[in-house]
């Protein structure tokens, strides 16, 4: 109950801010941070709960964006349909990646997911309909009332997606599915031996995680009014989606949210004040620091402190 009230308050706040007179740049940056909340949360469902490190976030993100583009160009589909389409296509991709877990574990699974990025990117580069390597300019449709600009609307849409993603992750964590996924992470053989249908659960986690990543990518063509393969399938999405839960804490649904808000905001600030190139360095340094000093992330640190001061 407390959770749903907070979620409603956050959404109302996002809407209120979007209707206020705050500078447009806030929404431009906030949209990116919220995208990372969705990506990190989605990553954590498979990577954090089940222990399968997916390095292919960029593939899902990019494919979500391209699915939306195709729907928009082909049918002039509205944003909600674009998002649903992106989620559906990436759910299918997630199912496919889930089948890889049959044979690949640990580092081998991670490498295979990197390959998925290159496959998707190559396909898009060679597809004329979506502009190939040069990309495609897109004309945004009219913004819906009561929003003043399209970016403000996208900000609220992404806030909605973030709440949906976090709620999904929270449900999975606290339900029987979550315990099964944790059992898989700890020992797949023992999980099977305890009656856990490991393949089914892994496929479920991959599919849900993929769908959420695709949904996060779908509004991006509208956000940029442009789409192009190299940036859509950029490896930094994979790195960030992995680093954020690590920094926030992978065991709890709030972990990726904290990590994404923290790292996402720092990245935005660094981009503006120093340079875009420094971004990756910031991610790297923070990741190393956390892995060494706080392997359970911010959530782990917090738990340790509360135990210490009790």
């Amino acid at each position: 109950m407390k959770y749903w009230i907070s979620a409603a308050v956050i959404l109302a706040l996002a809407l209120g801010v979007a209707l206020s007179r705050i500078n447009e740049y806030f929404f431009f940056a906030g949209f990116v941070v919220l995208t990372f909340v969705v990506l990190a949360t989605a990553w954590n469902i498979l990577g954090g709960y089940a222990g399968y490190v997916n390095f292919g976030t960029a593939a899902f993100f990019g494919l979500g964006a391209y699915s939306a583009t195709v729907l928009f160009k082909w049918q002039g589909a509205p944003l909600a349909v674009q998002i649903a389409g992106g989620a559906l296509v990436c759910a299918l991709l997630g199912f496919g990646v889930g089948l890889l877990t049959l044979r690949l574990r640990g580092i081998f699974f991670a490498i295979a997911t990197v390959a998925v990025i290159f496959i998707c990117e190559t396909l898009m580069v060679n597809w004329r309909y979506v502009g190939g390597a040069t990309g495609l300019q897109l004309l945004r449709p009219e913004v819906l009332a009561p929003f003043e600009t399209y970016t403000r609307m996208l900000f609220v849409v992404m806030a909605l997606l973030a709440v949906a993603a976090v709620s999904t992750a929270r449900y999975i964590q606290t339900s029987w599915i979550g315990r099964g996924l944790r059992a898989i992470r700890d020992s797949e053989e023992a999980a099977e031996g305890s009656g856990v249908p490991t393949l089914k659960l892994k496929l479920f986690a991959c599919t849900v995680s993929g769908a959420l990543m695709g949904a996060a990518g779908a509004p991006w063509p509208m956000y940029l009014s442009f789409i192009e393969p190299a940036s859509s399938f950029n490896l930094t999405y994979s790195v960030s989606a992995l680093a954020m839960p690590m920094i926030g804490g992978t065991g709890h649904w709030i972990g990726p949210v904290i990590g994404a808000l923290l790292l996402g905001s720092v990245q935005q600030i660094v981009t503006v004040t120093i340079s875009n190139e420094i971004n990756v360095l910031v991610v790297g340094v923070l990741l190393v620091l956390f892995v060494v000093l706080a392997p359970d992330g911010v959530v782990g640190l917090f738990r340790k402190w509360t135990r210490y001061f009790k």
Partner: protein, 238 residues
């Protein structure tokens, strides 16, 4: 009485290596069955085939009259075959109690409150009650072995396969685990024990089979197995 487990002409190859060839065993309901053999003789491969961690290449495995050799491991657990692992594989991110809740949730389908109560009963019986809320990665070796057995019991099996539950334990600890297995058997559970500690197997089993290089070399009462020249050769070398 019909056997609870019927292994018929089972074989298993890893590449060119034959781990099991033409192994047949019948196990009666309620039996205490011992499986011995030198290192690499195929004991663990055989129980992996029975529990579903591996698929056998040939032959059939019937449990309570039903062919199970095509089933995934979790389905066999749900049918009533549980096992403990030779190297303990606790769910290390969970407490001892939570470890038991996994099979309760996935096999027995109990509500969490009921499951907790029953899990505590098992832990009390096995002597882990005061560790119920300890993190399972902080347990000692003997406690880990007990946890393996407790988790297997939580799945309410009718056949329990204990894979070297006593390896590396001290004399008194072996007695403790042995007593647990005797009690389980007394409650009606068929037990297959795989063990290197001869005294334990011989004391526990009503019938023993000895594997060597993937073949059954002899079968009989504990006393006859010890006296068998083939067994002596397999263990000591000719």
């Amino acid at each position: 009485m019909d056997p609870i487990l019927q292994v018929k002409a089972v074989s298993k190859h890893f590449g060119g290596f034959t781990a099991l060839s033409d192994v047949s065993i019948d196990i009666a309901p309620g039996e205490r069955f011992g499986l011995i053999g030198p290192n690499g003789s195929g004991k663990t491969t055989l129980i992996n085939c029975i529990s579903g961690a591996l698929r056998n290449d040939g032959g059939s495995i019937r449990f309570e009259g039903v062919e199970v050799s095509g089933l995934a491991a979790y389905k066999r657990t749900r049918r009533g075959i549980a096992r403990s692992f030779q190297i303990p594989r606790p769910f290390h991110s969970m407490s001892v109690l939570e470890n038991l809740l996994v099979p309760y949730e996935y096999v027995v389908h109990l509500k969490e409150s009921d499951a907790e109560k029953q899990a505590m009963d098992i832990l009390a019986k096995i002597g882990l009650a005061e560790k119920a809320h300890a993190q399972s990665n902080q347990l000692s070796q003997v406690e880990l072995r007990k946890l393996e057995l407790a988790r297997a019991m939580a799945a309410k099996p009718r056949l329990l396969i204990s894979d070297e539950a006593m390896a590396g334990l001290s004399g008194s600890e072996v007695d403790e685990v042995l007593k647990i297995l005797f009690d389980l058997n007394a409650s009606g559970i068929t037990v297959i024990m795989i063990e290197h500690i001869m005294q334990a197997v011989m004391r526990f089993s009503q019938r023993v089979v000895c594997l060597d290089a993937g073949k059954i070399i002899c079968e009989g009462t504990p006393a006859s197995i010890v006296a068998n020249p083939d067994v002596q050769r397999a263990y000591l070398g000719a």
